[in-house]
């Protein structure tokens, strides 16, 4: 099976570590993903902001670039939903473009979804062998991207990570409410967007977790950015990073914001690991 990593523009710019983690975890699961070089942006910013024809051009590019692969995996819930739910409708019924879009839609998966439904990975097999290593992963809580609703994958990340033994996974209160990112909405209605983000951060803080796992790069950047401005101690990572850290494939990051909390919670594991 040839698997391509659909990196997404936002993750390449803002979350290279999430992509790295995705590669390492996939390899751990026996899949060696490829990274098609020509990929850029799936067109979501255009499709969400009233430029469907421009978006369709990028959709066509995506269909061509990923044509050689059997499966396409992405760490971004929203980009995944765009490919799956929006692409086909951009092209005329019966057209070759529509057919191509349907082919791509059928083989594109969000990262955890791919592990669970395509590779049929039993998450308990991802449990770190060395139990003391488990402490590497802090207490965490998950916020799923709203766009996973349409894929019927909303709320699936936390149970998976919990079974995979990625540290202590706490439930995030009111998880289903949007974090307020919403693409350009975040800059068009910054007050509303931030108010929603603040509410999400307050829920996060109430769980006592040190790490927030967000299944979309945009949500992650929004929440991390809000927290950084306010000095809220939080580390926002992707589901792939949570698994990679728990398996010891990636070292845990330390920043000034989380150093004290994490050091307090895991005195021996606060620093660089393997």
């Amino acid at each position: 099976m040839r698997v391509a990593l659909f990196t997404t523009c936002l993750a390449e710019a803002l979350a290279p570590r999430a992509l790295k983690a995705a590669v390492l975890v996939l390899e751990h699961c026996g899949v060696a993903p490829e990274v098609p070089l020509a990929q850029t942006c799936c067109g979501q910013p255009l499709l969400s902001n009233g430029l469907p024809n421009d978006g369709a051009k990028l959709a066509q590019r995506m269909c061509e670039i990923f044509a050689p692969y059997d499966a396409v995996v992405t760490p971004s819930g929203s980009c995944c939903s765009v490919v799956r739910e929006k692409y086909a409708g951009l092209f005329a019924e019966g057209s070759r473009e529509r057919a191509n879009a349907n082919v791509l839609a059928a083989k594109t998966f969000e990262f955890i979804e791919f592990l669970e439904t395509q590779l049929k990975i039993d998450p308990t097999t991802l449990k770190p062998k060395d139990c003391s290593a488990n402490a590497r992963c802090a207490t965490l809580t998950c916020h799923d991207a709203c766009h996973l609703r349409g894929l019927h994958r909303h709320g699936c990340t936390a149970p998976f990570l919990r079974s995979a033994g990625c540290g202590t996974v706490r439930d995030l209160p009111d998880m289903s409410q949007c974090c307020g990112f919403g693409g350009m909405f975040s800059t068009q209605f910054p007050e509303v967007s931030s108010a929603l983000g603040d509410e999400k951060l307050a829920h996060f803080t109430s769980t006592g977790a040190a790490v927030l796992v967000a299944s979309d790069t945009g949500c992650a950047a929004h929440l991390a950015g809000l927290a950084h401005r306010k000095g809220v101690a939080i580390r926002v990572i992707s589901p792939a990073e949570a698994i990679a850290e728990s398996l010891g494939l990636l070292a845990r990051e330390v920043t000034s914001a989380n150093a004290s909390t994490e050091a307090a919670m895991h005195p021996k594991n606060g620093t660089e690991v393997g």
Partner: protein, 495 residues
């Protein structure tokens, strides 16, 4: 009409939204009420329907769509059957016409006072101001609407109109307007309102209401309320007028069940509203209650135009309010930010469309350019809608129309097109990302593996108004992957 729900056009949503976010009371009342309703809605559907919930919504969607597709036939049937039962049926193309019809009826009876039960369409057509201007004293009998009326306030939710107010405000208004003694006890407050209203019911010359469904087979209307105020408004006065949008038509009682199962559960997590009233024809010989004259005013006010448009699905809406309760933006900005009696997700798509489709033609989106943009496209509205209206799809549709007509900011469009141009040129695209990273590295504050910007230039400025922008400083993913893949392939080759 009240400026809160009928603002001067073009309407600017942003100042109201900004103010609402800062209004702590609104945040508290609207936030907690909508959250609770949404949770209970999910709970009651789980409990009562489990996995069949989706199938039930599909039936409701298809039934309502079928009715809309056959609206002309259903209208004829309804009119014939309602007349056969002794009711008078009027058709109004515009809101003004609907008010005029009502005023004619009122004048014919020399009516000076009116009791009105809750109805969104009467808000839409501005019936109350028209009655007041004609000297017909009108009493809102829905408790929430009554409180709004004595406060000169306007509904901010289609089901729970005073969701933005609390008991304290109500208590104060009752002291001020009714001379009641101060109490915050909900039962006592209800009793005060009840005492005030009872006498007025008996004395009223005319009763007015809306309707939740019109039954073509029976020529009847179905009205769902929790307070029984409709039954009093139809039982007391000698004349009753039902105002109803033509999209409320369904084939008949045979099609009613899925809607009754869904309406109250979606709106307030009740199995049924406390009262489900059927009105068919005026009082017959030998009957003791009911109006001597019953009128139906079938209101178009843009609905025919919506029916002919790509947005016809919107007419399936049964005004349950579930999408408002589930919407993160509504929860933060409240109903008055939408500048319409129809707030929240459904309001954002319906308000401009109804305005456009008015007789004479409104400017539509040009008058409400903010509404389609005021959404994070989270999809919660679509998920909860009992008749499966794909509201996010229509928001996107409207955003495209705004862009086509040059009603969205030009600079934003230019930036997005530049983005597309870059995205078609992978080398340049990567260079641009590299430039952004470099900018952050040079000017940002280093922290761990990121450089944080407090003020980003150009399009990033909106972002950094309230958040920092953290750009990674380490190795680029592509560089890492090139080395990694090379190692991986050698390992494989060696095996």
């Amino acid at each position: 009409m009240n400026e809160l729900i009928a603002p001067p056009l073009p309407f600017d949503m942003k100042p109201r939204a900004r103010e609402a976010v800062r209004d702590l009371k609104l945040q508290q009342f609207v936030g907690s009420a909508t959250h609770l309703k949404d949770i209970h809605r999910g709970g009651i559907f789980d409990r009562d329907f489990g996995h069949d919930y989706d199938a039930l919504r599909t039936v409701a969607r298809d039934t309502k769509q079928h009715a809309l597709d056959h609206l002309d036939e259903l209208l004829e049937q309804f009119i014939a059957n309602a007349r056969a039962s002794g009711a008078t049926v009027h058709a109004a193309t515009t809101g003004a016409e609907a008010c005029e019809i009502a005023l004619r009826i009122a004048r014919a009876h020399g009516a000076l006072s009116c009791v009105k039960s809750k109805s969104m369409v009467t808000e839409e057509i501005g019936l109350l101001p028209a009655f007041e201007a004609a000297g017909i004293k009108t009493l809102e009998t829905d408790l929430g609407e009554f409180i709004l009326q004595i406060d000169g306030d306007a509904p901010s939710h289609i089901v729970t109109p005073m969701i933005h107010k609390d008991r304290v405000a109500t208590a104060q208004s009752f002291v001020r307007e009714l001379g009641a003694r101060y109490t915050e006890d909900p039962t006592e407050l209800t009793m005060i309102a009840r005492e005030h209203m009872r006498g007025l019911y008996r004395a009223a010359d005319i009763g007015v209401s809306g309707a939740n469904f019109l039954l073509a087979d029976e020529g009847a209307a179905v009205i769902c309320t929790n307070e029984g105020n409709f039954d009093l408004s139809v039982g007391g006065p000698p004349v009753h007028i039902v105002f109803v949008g033509i999209e409320k038509l369904i084939r008949g009682a045979r099609d009613l069940a899925p809607f009754l199962k869904l309406l109250a559960r979606s709106g307030t997590a009740q199995p049924l509203t406390v009262y489900t009233s059927f009105v068919r024809g005026p009082r017959r010989a030998g009957e003791h209650g009911g109006p001597k004259e019953l009128h139906f005013v079938l209101v178009d006010a843009g609905r025919v135009g919506v029916l002919a448009s790509e947005k016809r699905d919107l007419l399936r809406c049964i005004r349950c309010g579930a999408c408002l309760n589930a919407c993160p933006v509504y929860r933060k900005v409240g109903g008055h930010s939408y500048g319409s009696m129809y707030a929240g997700p459904i309001g954002a798509v319906l308000t401009p469309e109804l305005e456009r489709a008015q007789a004479g033609g409104g400017a539509g989106l040009a008058n409400y350019a903010d509404l389609p943009r005021a959404s994070s496209l989270c999809g919660a509205c679509y998920e909860v809608c009992p008749v499966k209206i794909d509201i996010p799809k229509f928001l996107l549709h409207d955003r495209a129309r705004l862009r086509e007509r040059g009603l969205s900011p030009k600079s934003e469009g230019a930036m997005l097109r530049l983005w597309r141009w870059l995205a078609e040129r992978p080398m340049l695209f990567r260079l641009a990302i590299g430039a952004a990273r470099l900018h952050a590295r040079l000017l940002g504050q280093k922290d761990g593996s990121r450089a944080w910007l407090r003020a980003a230039p150009g399009p990033g400025a909106g972002w950094t108004q309230s958040r920092d922008l953290g750009m990674p400083t380490g190795e680029r993913f592509r560089d890492w992957f090139a080395t990694h893949a090379a190692k991986r392939d050698t390992k494989r080759g060696a095996r």
